[in-house]
């Protein structure tokens, strides 16, 4: 099932804008390898789940996958064939607002060649350009 919050304070939110660059969450923290976004995008819960499944199927229980983003923001839409007006539609899906530089997936416990292949499959499920990154040892 696609990721979404268990409890929320407000059911609907305004659209907002996606500006700037990732000032945090832009370094590898848990694993050894990761993928980093190169654009500002909204990633839906379904896309995150598709990425997770793509990685776990390729790894066949080897290694460990870390998901660094969560879809906190609801996106509303109106049902089909509905007249305009009568208020804002219900939340249709949930998104994570991701800025350029954010690490979205991390991997550990596998060799680099395996990690590259697994994360390439994850990147294909994402709505943006991504790049493969390796943990920096030292300064």
């Amino acid at each position: 099932m696609a990721l979404m919050p268990k409890r929320v304070k407000w059911r609907k939110s305004q659209r907002g804008k996606l500006r700037g660059r990732a000032q945090r969450g832009n370094t590898i923290s848990f694993g050894e390898y990761g993928i980093q976004t190169m654009e500002n995008v909204r990633i839906t819960g379904r896309q995150i789940e598709a990425g997770r499944i793509a990685a776990t199927h390729y790894l066949r229980r080897e290694g460990r996958v870390f998901i660094r983003i969560f879809p906190h923001k609801p996106v509303s839409s109106k049902p089909l064939e509905t007249r305009m007006g009568k208020g804002k539609g219900d939340a249709a899906y949930w998104v994570s607002c991701v800025r350029e530089g954010q690490i979205i997936f991390e991997l550990s416990g596998v060799e680099e060649s395996v990690a590259r292949n697994a994360l390439a499959r994850v990147a294909h499920k994402m709505p943006c350009r991504c790049r493969f990154v390796v943990r920096r040892h030292g300064l």
């Binding site: 979404m4 919050p5 409890r7 304070k9 660059r21 229980r61 416990g109 990154v133 030292g138």
Partner: protein, 217 residues
Amino acid sequence: MEVNTLVAESRTKLGTRDAREQRKRGRIPAVIYGHGESSVSISLDWHEVEVALAHGARTLDLKLEGKALQLLIKAVQHDHMDARPVHLDLMRVNLDERVKVGVSIELRGTPKGIAEGGVLDQLLNEIEVECLVTQIPETMHPFVTDLGVGDSLLIKDLEFPAGVVPLLDPEERVAMVRVVAEEAEETEAEEGEEGAGAEPERIGRVRKDEEGEGASS
């Protein structure tokens, strides 16, 4: 560990705008502090710094206005893509001084527990150590080939060079080979059961008319 000699220029103008101009000119802004003296803002050649960092340098020999300085690289700030250094913090040190620094841990080998169905988990990526400035290790490379399923590598199992003292609890885990839980298949099985129409619970006071709306939709 290599010690590199770089030529530094002192900066008279400070602030974000000047720092950006320095970077455009191929220089990295940096600051020198420590030993109770006042801090000095300098700039360094970008390429020389990148080469020094790529070679694992932890100290730098600088020439600033004819004076030779020995400095410890205390911190490096990187850009938003975590790719290029944008600022350095340099601390004045004596070569006979003991300092506290973080040393990264890079595991080597494939544990035997992986063949038995385990997964290697690295729990500690960096360890704080105390040592002489001249003895800072670049990276720790412990071998994990002997770890079976359920076995752990502890800090006391690491071999530190002479004069390097770890500052963490010796019983703390660095890595372990854990048994893979059968979660993945279960969660996939659950996917079909739960529908996409599930809605999160509201926190706090909910108006009556909203409650009715939620129930009807």
